[in-house]
């Protein structure tokens, strides 16, 4: 490649390259390999602390939810139930609740009525079995309630961590934000393994057994609606909601993303989401967008409706509206 004089090869170099193995070099090599292996073992020692069964062959061989045969899904669910019983002493009623025909869910929130009490954020935690350090830790709640300054709808000057003795405060109004179940959902578009997708009723769900934990969906979401399990979820056994479904509120492993599913284990059974039921002011309206006589359609057709970040083009199924 170049013929600089410095590159002239001395015979010694060649000799070195072909140096035969003798007893001495062999022993030296063997000793060095032992040290290397010992070093690697020492480095990997934390892996011994992995819980037995945390990574099973079944998990590794499992297919994507939408490719699962019914029998395999039942087997996986039985394993999840057994795991919950073993770890928490709670035997959940774990189901795979399918979407209803002719239903597309929509949600509207009355900004005139919301008083910022955060009851919805707490109810969400109780319903969906999120990780928490104590009852007041709502970091993993799917709902973030923003305290906004009157005079504008300006997220930049809003506060999530408001801590006032009473709500509502004068000069403030409140805007709860949760997953908007977008029609053009950026989160499902970016997922490299399709671990999150839109169901036919419009709900964006996550297969916790398929998510690889890259968090690209969190970067993509314009509504800060996704949460990640940075550690094994901490949840007291007494706090576990046993009414669970595979794609929504079942107990999650660490290292996966989760999000609001409009409580699909309730709403696909004809009930309201937990956040709506608990709302003391009746600010929340939930229903079937495909039913022309539904309350949600009445709101969309008759009230002054506001879509958050309409400019991003996500076409949400979550709306805000005003009374007067």
């Amino acid at each position: 490649m170049n013929d600089e004089p410095q590159n002239t090869v001395s015979p010694r170099t060649i000799e070195q390259v072909y140096q035969p193995i003798n007893r001495r070099t062999f022993l030296k090599g063997a000793a060095a390999s032992m040290v290397g292996v010992a070093g690697l073992m020492a480095a990997l020692k934390p892996l011994l602390e992995l819980e037995r069964g945390e990574i099973s062959l079944d998990d590794l061989l499992q297919r994507h939810y939408r490719e699962l045969k019914e029998a395999d899904l039942q087997r996986m669910m039985a394993q999840l139930v057994a795991k919950s019983e073993k770890e928490h002493g709670v035997r959940p009623n774990l189901r795979d609740v399918k979407p209803l025909a002719g239903v597309e869910f929509g949600y509207a929130l009355n900004l005139t009525r919301c008083i910022g009490c955060r009851k919805c954020a707490h109810a969400c935690l109780k319903e969906n079995n999120q990780s928490r350090s104590d009852a007041n830790d709502i970091e993993m709640s799917y709902i973030r309630v923003l305290e906004m300054k009157k005079g504008a709808i300006n997220l930049e000057t809003s506060s999530v961590y408001y801590d006032s003795a009473a709500v509502p405060q004068t000069g403030r109004y409140y805007m709860p934000v949760q997953c908007h179940q977008c029609r053009e959902s950026p989160c499902t578009k970016v997922c490299p393994v399709q671990a999150t997708w839109q169901e036919v009723d419009g709900l964006v769900v996550v297969d916790y057994n398929w998510c690889i934990g890259c968090r690209y969906c969190m970067a993509a979401c314009p509504y800060d609606a996704r949460r990640f399990n940075y550690q094994k979820p901490t949840l007291e056994s007494a706090a576990i909601n046993p009414n669970q479904s595979y794609l929504s509120n079942r107990l999650r492993p660490k290292g996966v993303v989760e999000k609001c599913t409009f409580c699909l284990h309730r709403t696909r059974d004809g009930k309201y989401p937990a956040c709506l039921e608990v709302c003391p002011t009746g600010a929340r309206v939930f229903g079937n967008l495909r039913d022309p006589n539904s309350e949600i359609n009445y709101i969309l057709n008759n009230k002054r409706v506001y879509v958050l970040k309409e400019d991003v083009g996500t076409l949400p199924r979550f709306y805000y509206f005003f009374d007067k």
Partner: protein, 408 residues
């Protein structure tokens, strides 16, 4: 086949023969790599809570280093283009080192992405037929293809040329020239696709910006050559392979042009963000001046800007015609771009959050050790490849030592 096995055996033997200094260097790197492995094993058991990342800032040092290193890998074209398109003879002496560097750096990139995963053991979910590959929808799946493709192309070119050299026969052009040209386009693609990872997210206005890919390429073509200039000098000092000054000063010229473009684009960006600041400038405001009393990145970005400016001034003036001046410029540019394109690009994308909250991010010790381990592993890999490649290139390792070494 028998010859190839002999070749591998000799390479294996050669890998463990060297001077005392070589042993010390490789042992230190191995030790640092093992420290990184240990930190990662801890993270694998306890979860990503061992990092400083949160729901609000969901990517951190891993993705920052990944982004920066993709650029360094892409910069191998700064050797390939002059060598193969402009037929600069002196660049042929070093072009292989650039390709080997690309291999080592791409490995680092893949490791940085892997350690960022919450479930690395589910990696096969991305590989059909075991998994579902969201192609072409997800830009991340594009990135997986281009990064691995670039790795394979460079492994082929470097491996083929070295083996021919070892067998003392001239390489057959059609076996590698088409791949050399493919690698040029491919190098541009790896960095562009990596930029599209961010640019494609309309919800993050700091990233949703058409200048990002151009700036990525411009800054990459500074940082990569800067590292090459420094390593080439080490190679010519400590190994029996002489690299003249011409390749180094060709790289200086290329770096200078790229750095001017990079700083011009930075200026365009700053003008757009600050001349008439909109709400979309909040992230830039956080980065450069702090926001609502949070200013964690401010000292970093100003150090980066200072280093960039120093680097640029040295490069455009005769100071960098002397090797010492050039070396200072290279270090300044490399570190400046590492800060600016790593943490300076990734973190403000998350601050403020899409709902306007400011949550700051600081890497933890464990996270830093994982990063350090990957950097050490990259250096280990590159050192090993050089240690094997150089005796082949200068002819001391060849199939039939009784014959004269081939000339390429």
């Amino acid at each position: 086949m028998r010859d190839y096995l002999t070749f591998l055996w000799r390479v294996w033997r050669l890998s463990f023969q060297g001077s005392g200094k070589f042993y010390v260097w490789m042992s230190v790197l191995t030790l640092l790599t093992l420290v990184g492995v240990h930190a990662w094993a801890r993270q694998f058991v306890d979860g990503l809570a061992t990092t400083g990342m949160t729901n609000q800032v969901s990517w951190g040092a891993y993705i920052a280093n990944f982004t920066f290193l993709v650029g360094v890998a892409a910069a191998a074209v700064m050797l390939v283009i002059p060598a193969y398109i402009y037929k600069k003879e002196h660049m042929h002496e070093v072009v292989l080192f650039g390709e080997l560097m690309a291999i080592a750096v791409i490995m680092m990139c893949l490791l940085f992405v892997t350690v960022d995963l919450g479930h690395p053991e589910r990696f096969h979910h991305m590989i059909p037929p075991f998994g579902v590959f969201n192609f072409p929808g997800s830009i991340l799946s594009w990135d997986v293809i281009v990064l691995n493709g670039y790795l394979v192309i460079n492994l082929h070119i470097a491996g083929y040329l070295l083996y021919c050299r070892y067998r003392q026969r001239p390489p057959t052009k059609r076996f590698y020239i088409p791949f050399v040209f493919l690698s040029i386009a491919w190098a541009v693609s790896i960095h562009t696709v990596t930029a599209f990872l961010y640019v494609g997210l309309a919800g993050r206005s700091y990233w949703h910006h058409p200048l990002v890919p151009s700036r990525f390429l411009a800054s990459a073509f500074v940082a990569g050559p800067a590292l090459m200039v420094l390593t080439f000098q080490i190679i010519r000092r400590v190994t029996r392979y002489w690299i003249g000054d011409e390749p180094i000063f060709t790289l200086r010229m290329l770096m200078t042009v790229a750095m001017i473009i990079n700083m011009f684009l930075l200026g365009c960006e700053l003008f757009t963000e600050f001349y008439y600041p909109t709400q979309h400038a909040a992230a830039a405001h956080y980065l450069y001046f702090g926001l609502h009393g949070h200013a964690g990145l401010v000292p970093w970005i100003w150090s980066a800007i200072a280093l960039d400016v120093i680097g640029l001034c040295l490069l455009v003036t005769p100071f960098s015609r002397r090797i010492i001046g050039l070396n200072i410029a290279c270090v300044a540019c490399f570190v400046g771009i590492w800060i600016e394109k790593g943490m300076g690009l990734i973190i403000p994308g998350f601050v403020p959050t899409p709902l306007g909250q400011v949550v700051e991010y600081l890497p933890t010790l464990n996270e830093t050790l994982v990063c350090l381990g990957i950097w050490a592993f990259g250096a280990l890999l590159y050192s090993w490849m050089l240690h094997v490649a150089i005796p082949i290139m200068n002819g001391s390792l060849r199939a039939r030592p009784e014959l004269k070494p081939a000339t390429l």
